[in-house]
């Protein structure tokens, strides 16, 4: 699997797009989606919520287990992907595209986000 070069990645397996007008998009990586198995339920942060880098902001439920969703950055949520709430399988089928999770107006970002190559090595 290939991790898009233009994104950056957290060690909790989220990806973060480059900011446009200060807003970045967040999702989970294909590696994480594969590890979860079929995602059947997602709970996302709501518009206006403040999220904090490295802290829980939602959950992803698959056939076998439930996993916390962490935010890779701090900021205010500007949009949650309602499509993925309605069809959680988008997380598996298009983790870097239609399966994005939320958008955030970034106030602070940790210094240890990984490049695509670093993440590929990290995720093995």
């Amino acid at each position: 699997m290939s991790n898009p070069q233009q994104l950056r990645y957290s060690k909790e397996h989220e990806w973060l797009s480059a900011a446009e007008d200060g807003v970045s998009t967040v999702g989970i990586t294909e590696h994480a989606a594969n590890a979860l198995g079929d995602v059947v339920y997602v709970q996302l942060p709501e518009v206006g919520d403040t999220v904090t880098a490295g802290e829980t902001c939602g959950e992803l439920e698959s056939t076998k287990s439930v996993s916390d969703l962490y935010s890779p950055v701090s900021g205010e949520v500007t949009e949650a992907n309602e499509d993925v709430v309605g069809d959680p399988s988008l997380v598996n089928s298009a983790p870097f595209e239609g399966g994005w999770l939320f958008k955030v107006r970034v106030s602070e970002e940790p210094k240890d986000l990984l490049s695509a190559d670093e993440y590929t090595e990290f995720a093995g």
Binding site: N34, G37, D38, V40, Y41, E61, T63, K64, V66, N92
Partner: protein
Amino acid sequence: MSNAPRLTALDALHRSLGATMTDFAGWDMPLRYGSERDEHNAVRTKAGLFDLSHMGEITVTGPQAVDLLNYALVGNIGTVGLGRARYTMICREDGGILDDLIVYRLGEDEYMVVANAGNAQIVLDAVTARAQGFDATVRDDRDAYALIAVQGPESPGILKSLTDADLDGLKYYAGLPGTVAGVPALIARTGYTGEDGFELFVEPQHAEKLWQALTEAGAPAGLIPCGLSCRDTLRLEAGMPLYGHELTTALTPFDAGLGRVVKFEKDGDFVGREALTAAAERAESAPPRKLVGLIAEGRRVPRAGMSVVADGTVIGEVTSGAPSPTLGKPIAMAYVDAAHAAPGTPGVGVDIRGTHEPYEVVALPFYKRQK
């Protein structure tokens, strides 16, 4: 003793198929090959191929094999005909369930007991200990067999193309020796999926050849390899208990709603008789918690160990839960107080990480195949 996981004869094949592997009772087993939902649906509508070589086979032979089994187990093995199989249990002296089992009668005085992987040693030890004084031999055959299951509505047609055995004459819960794809096999019409299907006990050296032959013969009919993840959702939809979840040493068969497997009328004493007699009487006078089905109104998934609640009070506990591919909703099996066990009981919920999610109480199973 080594802590390295045990590998089945099909291990290299699973890895070449890209299976996600998982530890299961000390065995490295395929969890899924691709999407567990696709695998589940294949078994419901077409066919699925499973490696179940982790199951534990114990052979009991000798003039008193049947007497030993009648003493060691709670079922009446004396009424199992040649070539037939029986679902039964082995209990402790106090009535607690040690394991649920399938016993196949392979010969006049030859039986094969199939135990769950996690309990195989416990069952082997118990049957061996209980064999004292009986003219019978208990043999550990765990390494003698690989077990491959073909499950789903297309499975009879697939198997027929590979064997001359009389599958039409083979009833549910029966087994006969035969040859499949040139491989000697015990062909059993059993399974754990709620579908028609077969379990094939073969020598491990033949497992790969048989798997490949079934894969090729089944591909046109839609057969795909399936892992333990979909096996769990299949059996859950079919309302079948899983040891460690619905069945434990803390429960008697009567507590689990499976008192019918205990045959007090059989000849001779059996381990647990006294405690089970008391348990049967208790079940009559003061019904224990009942095993029920729960169907979610929402989308959050109940998991084993979560509390079942009504009016803010805990009334039971989830034993198994998963999203049901067939129903399209999360489902669970749960033990609940008798007062809340009737199908349609209003106001029942599951405490999912602090939120009481509404659930409908239903009778088991969730899914029954059309015959």
